[in-house]
Symmetry: C2
Subunit: 734 residues, 2 copies
C-alpha cells in the first residue's frame, strides 16, 4: 500500500462525504410534515407499489447475477481466461448499483407528499424539499460508485503491488466490475421504462381519451401505478443508467491511462488515479452547487430554471477550473492539453443540452410546428414529430464528433500520426473528457431525480384535493421538472456515447491482457504471414493490425451491420413490450370501470393495487427478451466473427444507437410539449380535435422518450462491457 500517493485518499473521503450528505438530506427531508391523512395514504400507496416492484425486479436480477457470476467463475477458475477477482468485482458492482437505486427511490417516494405539503407553505420550500431529495439520489450514486472504485483499487493494489504490469492488470480487472453496474442498469432501465410507460399509456388511453377524466384523477385505477412508474423509471432507471456511465467512464479512463503511460511507472499511477481524483473533487463542487439552489415566492418559470441552472453551471464551471489545477498538481504529461480535453467534454454536454431544449421546448419553432400540424390531424403530428426528431440528431452527433476529435487531439498535442503513443494518449483524452462531463453527476442527477419527485408531488396534491394555489405551485415545480428531464436525457445520452467510446477503446486492452494470459498458459498466436505474434510487448496498433480491424475486412463490415441492427431490434422489442403491457393495463382499467360500480362518480375506490401488479408483472415478463439479447449478441458475434467482428459491432451499434436514441428522445419530448402547448390554449386548446391529435403524438412519444430511447444508452455501453468481460472467451478459439 506504500506506493499509493496521499492524494488518492481524497477519493474514499469524497465518497464518504457524499454518502454522509445524502444521509443528512434524507434526515432533513424526513423531518418535514407529510401533510393530511389523505396525502399520507396516497404516498404510502405509491411507496408500497414502488418497493414491491423493486423487490420483484431485484429477484429477477439476482438470478441473472448468479448465473453470470457462475459463468465468470468458470472462465476464471476452469478455463483460466479471466482474472480470478472478476466474479467478485462483478457482484459488488451490481450490489452497489442496486443499493443506490434502492436508497434513491425510497427517498423519492418519501419526498413527494412532503414536497406537496411544503408547497402549501411556499414555492421555495417545495423546490428545496424536492431538489434536496433528488440530491440524495445523485449523492448516493456518486458516493457508492466512487467507494466501490476506491475499495477495489486498494484491494487489487495490495494483491498485485510490485508486479511489472500491476496497474494494467488492476485497471482491466476493475473495468469488469462495471459489468455488474451494467447488468443492474439494463434491468432497471428496460424494466423501469416498460413499467412506467405501460402505466402511463394505459392510464391515458382509457382515462383521458375514453372516460374524459383529467391526469392524476383518483377515479382512474391506473393513476397510482402511473406515479409508481415515475419513480421506478425516472428515478431508479435513470440513476442506474448514470451510475453505469459514471463508473464506466472512470474505470475505462484509468485502464486507458495505464496503457498510455505504461513506459513511466510513476506517471502511470498518477494517470490512473487522475480520473478518480477529478470525480472526487467533482463531488465537493456538486455539493456547493446543491446548496446554491433556492428560489423566491412567485418565481416565474424562467427564475426557477435559473435557480437550477445556477447550481449546475457553477459546479460545471468550477470543475473546469479545478481540472487544470488537479492535472497540473498531479504532474501528468501534457496536463494542459488534457485539461482542454475535459473542457471539450463539458462544452459538448452543454451544447447537447441546449440543442435538446431547442428541439423539444415549446418556446421554439420545431415544437410549435408540431402543435400547428395538429390542425390536419394526428397523422401529420406524427409525421412532423418523427421528421423533427430525425433532423434533431444533427447537432448532437456533430457536437460529439467534434468533442471526440478535440479531446483526442488536445490530449496528444494535435498529433494525427496514429503512432502507438499518440493513439494511447489520445484515447485517454477521450476517456477523461467523459469523466469531466460526468464529474458533477452529484448535482446533474439531482436535477434529473427532482423531476419525478415534483411530478409525484403534483399527483399527490391533485388526488388529495389540495387548494388551487398549491396546485399552481406544484404545477410550476412539475413544469420545471419536464424541462430538466429533456436536457437531462440529452446529457445522459451524450455521456453514454463518450463512455461507450472509451469502453470500446479499453476493449483492446482487455484483449491484450487475455492474450498475455493465454500465452502464459502455453498458447501461441501467429499473424497473417505465419510469424509468431507476441502480445506482451505489442502496442494497441499492433493488435489492431493483428486482428485486421479495418474497414476492408468483411467481418468488421458485417459487425457494423449487426450493430446497427441490434439498436433497431432492441428498440423494436421494447416498443412492442410497452404496447403489450399497456394493452393489459387498458383491459384492466376498462374492467374496473365496468365492474366496480360508482368509480366514475367518485363513490367507489378503484383497485389501485391490481394495476400496480399488472404493470409490475408486465415489466418483469417483457424485459427478459430484450435484456438477454443485449447480452447474447456481443457474445455470439465474438465467437463467430472474433475481435474484428466485435469492434465492428460496437462501432455500428454506437453510431446507430446514439443517433437513434437522440431521435427517439427528442421526438418524444417535442410531442409531449406540443400537447402541453395546446393545453395552454393554443390552436384550439384543451378538448379540441387538435388537442386529441397531439395526445396521439404524446402517447406514441411516451415509449420513445422514456423506454426505447433511454434504453439505448444502456445497450451501447453494455455491448462494450459484455465484450470486455468475454474477451477471454473470444480469443480462446483463435
Amino acid at each position: 500500500m506504500n506506493n499509493i500517493p496521499l492524494v488518492f485518499w481524497l477519493i474514499p473521503i469524497a465518497s464518504i462525504v457524499a454518502l454522509g450528505m445524502a444521509w443528512y438530506f434524507f434526515r432533513t427531508m424526513m423531518k418535514e410534515d407529510e401533510g393530511t391523512e389523505r396525502m399520507k395514504e396516497i404516498a404510502a400507496h405509491v411507496r408500497k407499489g414502488a418497493m414491491a416492484y423493486l423487490k420483484q425486479q431485484y429477484k429477477v436480477v439476482t438470478i441473472v447475477f448468479i448465473v453470470l457470476a457462475i459463468v465468470f467463475a468458470f472462465m476464471a477458475y476452469v478455463l483460466k481466461v479471466q482474472n480470478p477477482w472478476v466474479p467478485f468485482a462483478f457482484l459488488t458492482g451490481g450490489l452497489f448499483s442496486g443499493l443506490a437505486g434502492f436508497f434513491g427511490m425510497k427517498t423519492a417516494t418519501y419526498a413527494s407528499a412532503r414536497t406537496a405539503h411544503g408547497a402549501r407553505t411556499g414555492l421555495d420550500k417545495g423546490l428545496r424539499i424536492a431538489f434536496r431529495s433528488g440530491a440524495v439520489m445523485g449523492l448516493v450514486v456518486v458516493g457508492l460508485g466512487l467507494l466501490d472504485i476506491a475499495i477495489w483499487f486498494v484491494v487489487l493494489n495490495a494483491v498485485y503491488e510490485g508486479e511489472n504490469t500491476a496497474l494494467i492488470t488492476i485497471t482491466t480487472t476493475m473495468l469488469t466490475f462495471g459489468m455488474g453496474a451494467s447488468t443492474q442498469a439494463l434491468f432497471a432501465r428496460v424494466g423501469g421504462g416498460i413499467y412506467t410507460k405501460a402505466a402511463d399509456v394505459g392510464a391515458d388511453l382509457v382515462g383521458k381519451v375514453e372516460a374524459n377524466i383529467p391526469e392524476d384523477d383518483p377515479r382512474n385505477p391506473a393513476t397510482i401505478a402511473d406515479n409508481v412508474g415515475d419513480n421506478v423509471g425516472d428515478v431508479a432507471g435513470m440513476g442506474a443508467d448514470l451510475y453505469e456511465s459514471y463508473c464506466g467512464s472512470i474505470l475505462s479512463t484509468a485502464a486507458l491511462g495505464a496503457t498510455a503511460f505504461a513506459m513511466n511507472g510513476d506517471m502511470q499511477l498518477r494517470a490512473v488515479i487522475a480520473p478518480m481524483v477529478i470525480a472526487a473533487i467533482g463531488i465537493f463542487l456538486s455539493l456547493i452547487g446543491i446548496f446554491l439552489v433556492r428560489t423566491k415566492e412567485g418565481a416565474s418559470m424562467k427564475e426557477l430554471l435559473h435557480s437550477l441552472g445556477l447550481g449546475t453551471n457553477v459546479s460545471a464551471g468550477l470543475i473546469a477550473v479545478a481540472t487544470f489545477v488537479i492535472l497540473y498538481l498531479l504532474g501528468i504529461e501534457n496536463w494542459l492539453g488534457l485539461s482542454f480535453s475535459v473542457i471539450s467534454g463539458l462544452v459538448a454536454g452543454v451544447v447537447i443540452g441546449q440543442a435538446t431544449e431547442y428541439y423539444t421546448s415549446q418556446s421554439y419553432r420545431p415544437t410549435q410546428k408540431i402543435a400547428e400540424a395538429s390542425q390536419t390531424g394526428p397523422a401529420t403530428v406524427i409525421i412532423k414529430g418523427i421528421g423533427t426528431g430525425m433532423i434533431s440528431t444533427m447537432i448532437p452527433v456533430v457536437t460529439i464528433s467534434v468533442a471526440i476529435m478535440l479531446s483526442y487531439l488536445c490530449a496528444n498535442g494535435f498529433d494525427m500520426s496514429l503512432s502507438a503513443k499518440s493513439i494511447s494518449i489520445g484515447l485517454y483524452g477521450i476517456g477523461i473528457a467523459a469523466v469531466g462531463m460526468l464529474s458533477t453527476l452529484g448535482i446533474t442527477l439531482a436535477t434529473d431525480a427532482y423531476g419525478p419527485i415534483a411530478d409525484n408531488a403534483g399527483g399527490n396534491a391533485e388526488m388529495s384535493g389540495l387548494g388551487e394555489e398549491v396546485r399552481e405551485r406544484t404545477d410550476a415545480l412539475d413544469a420545471l421538472g419536464n424541462t430538466t428531464a429533456a436536457t437531462g436525457k440529452g446529457f445522459a445520452i451524450g455521456s453514454a456515447a463518450l463512455t461507450a467510446l472509451a469502453l470500446l477503446a479499453s476493449y483492446i486492452e482487455e484483449i491484450k491482457i487475455a492474450m498475455i494470459r493465454a500465452v502464459e498458459n502455453g498458447k501461441q498466436y501467429f499473424d497473417a504471414a505465419g510469424n509468431v505474434f507476441d502480445p506482451t510487448n505489442a502496442t494497441t496498433i499492433d493488435f489492431i493490425n493483428f486482428f485486421q480491424v479495418n474497414l476492408i475486412n468483411p467481418k468488421v463490415l458485417v459487425g457494423a451491420f449487426l450493430g446497427a441492427m441490434a439498436a433497431f431490434l432492441f428498440c423494436g422489442l421494447t416498443m412492442g413490450a410497452v404496447g403489450r403491457a399497456a394493452e393489459s393495463m387498458v383491459q384492466e382499467v376498462r374492467r374496473q370501470f365496468r365492474e366496480i360500480k360508482g368509480i366514475l362518480e367518485g363513490k367507489a375506490t378503484p383497485d389501485y393495487g391490481r394495476c400496480v401488479e399488472i404493470s409490475t408483472r408486465g415489466a418483469q415478463r417483457e424485459m427478459i427478451i430484450p435484456s438477454l439479447l443485449a447480452i447474447v449478441i456481443p457474445i455470439v458475434v465474438g465467437l463467430v466473427l472474433g475481435v474484428a467482428g466485435v469492434l465492428g459491432l460496437l462501432t455500428g451499434g454506437l453510431a446507430a444507437g446514439f443517433t437513434l436514441a437522440v431521435f427517439m428522445s427528442n421526438s418524444g419530448g417535442a410531442w409531449d410539449n406540443a400537447k402541453k402547448m395546446i393545453e395552454e390554449g393554443h390552436f384550439g386548446g384543451k378538448g379540441s380535435e387538435n388537442h386529441k391529435a397531439t395526445i396521439v403524438g404524446d402517447t406514441v412519444g411516451d415509449p420513445f422518450k422514456d423506454t426505447s430511447g433511454p434504453s439505448l444508452n444502456i445497450l451501447i455501453k453494455l455491448m462494450s462491457m459484455v465484450s470486455i468481460v468475454m474477451a477471454g472467451l473470444t480469443i480462446i478459439f483463435l
Copy 2:
C-alpha cells in the same frame, strides 16, 4: 480493339435486343384501344401532369449536371486529379438514366387506360397489358444501362489499349459514369417520392378523412395528382434507383476484378467483362420470364401471384445455372466458388423478399396485430407499427451479413487470412453477388413498374365509372401490385446494400489511381514512420494501413457517427418535405371544396391542374436541400477527415441507412395492409373508429415507405459514388 474477346459482343447485342423488345412491347400496347372518351380524357390528364413534372425535374437536374460537369472538368483539366474522360462519362450516365425514366413513364401513362379497357375483356388481357408495359421500363433500363457500359468500354479500350494498367484505368474511369446515374436517381427518387406522397397524403387527409369520399373519386381535386404521383414516384423513381444499382454493381465489380486479377492480364480482361456477360445473359433470361407471365379468367390472388412469381423465379433459376456455365467458359480462376457467390446473392434477394412479405402482408401475424391494435386507437397502431418495423430489420440484416460473408469466402476459397490477394478476390465475390441479384432486373423491374400501372388503371376505371365487374378485375390487379411493391422494395434495398458495399470497396481502387496520378505529377507521400509511400505497387491492404482505416482511428469513428447521422437527417428532411408539400395540397383541396360550388355533388369539375402544379412545385422546391446534402456531406468529410473519415462515413451510413430503410419500408407496408385488412371487414370494417385509426397509420406510413425509406437506397449508393468521383480532391491535401 483486337484484344476484346468475341464474347464481349454479347453485351451490346443483349442491350439492343432489350431495347428492341421494349419497342415491340410498347408498339403492341399502343395498338390496344384506350376505351371510352372519359377514359382517354383522364389518361390524358395524368399523362400531361406526369410529363410536365418530368420536364420540370429535368430542368433542375440539367442545372445540377452542368455545375457538376464543370467541377469535374476543372478537376480533370486544371487540377489534373481526375481522368479526362470523367466529365463525359458522367454526362452520358445521367442522360441514359434520364432517357430510361422518360420512356418508362411515357409507356406507363399510355398503358393505364388501356389496361382498364383490357380488363373489360378479361383478367388475363388486363394483366398482360399492364405487365408488358411494365416490362418496357425494365428492358429500357437494362438495355440503356448495358449499352452505355459497352460503348464506354470500347471507347476507353481503344484509348488505353496496350498501356500497362489499362484495365484498371478503364474500369475506374467507367465507375465514375455511375455518378451520372446516381445524380439522376437522387432527384428522381427524392423528388418523385415527395411528389407522390404530397399528393397522396393531401388527397387522403381532405378527401377520405374530412369529406368522406372514397379513394380515386373524381370529385377530389387531388386525385389526378395522386395518379400522376404513382407514375413519377413508383415508375420513374424506382426505375432510376435500380438503373443506378444495376450500372453501379456491374461497374464496381469490373473495377474490383481488374484489381483482383491484375497479375494475370488475360484473366484480368475476362474478370472485367464477366459481370457484363452475366448481365447480358440475364437480359435473355428475363425475356423468357416475361413471356411466361399470363393468367386465366377469374384467377385468385394466389394464382395471380403465381403467374408473376413463375416469371421471376424461372429467370432467377436460369441465371443461377447460367452463371456456372458463363464463369466456367470464361475460365475465371475459382469459377465454381464465384458461382456460389452469385447464388448467395440470389438467395439473399429471395429471403429478404420473403421476410418483407411476412412482415407486411395481412396474411401473417405482424400486420394482423397492427390491425388489432386499432381497437385502442391510432396511438397504439403507430407504436405497434414502429415496433414491428424495427423488429423486421433483423432478418434482412442477418441475411445480407451472411450473404456478404459467404460471397466473400466462396470467392476466395474460404481464405480468412486477409492477404492482399484473398481480399481482392473476396471483394470481387461480393460485387459479383450483387450483379447476380440484379442480372434479371429486366423482369424484376417489370414486376415493380406493373404496380403503378395497375393502380392507375384502377383509378381510371373508378373515375370513368366503369362497371362493377371491371372494377373487381382492376382491384385484383391492383392488390397484386401492392404485394409485388413490398417485395420489390425489399429487393431494391438489398441490392442497393450489396452495390454500396462493392462501391465502398472500389473507393480504395479509385484512391489508388488518384494517388498514382498525383505521384506522376510529382507529389510524394510519406507514411507514419516517415518513409516514402509508393502507391504504384501497393496492395489494397497497404492503402488501408497507409490511411489507417481502422477502428481505433478517431477519424474513422467520427466518420461512422456522421454516416449514421446522415441517414437520419436525410430521412428527417424528406419527411418534413412531404409534410410541408402535403400541407399546401390540403389547403388547396379545402379551398376548391369551399370556392368551387357543386364539386362534392359532382356537378362541377375540380381544378385538377392546380393540384398537379402544387405537387410539382412542392417536390421541386423540397428536393433541393436533402439532395445537396447527400452530395455535400461526403465531400466535406473527405476534405476534413480524409480517406479514413470517408470510409467511416460510408460504413456508418451503409449500416444505419440500410437498417433504417428496411424499418421504414416495412412499417409503412404493414400499416398500409393493416388498413386494407380492416377495409375488408375485420375489426369493425370500413368507416369504424378502428378504420380511422389505421388510416392514421397508413398516412404516416406513406412517406415512410414511398419517400424516406426508398430515398435511403440512393443515399447509401450516392455517398460512395460522390466519394469515388471526388477521390482526387480528397488526396490532394494529403
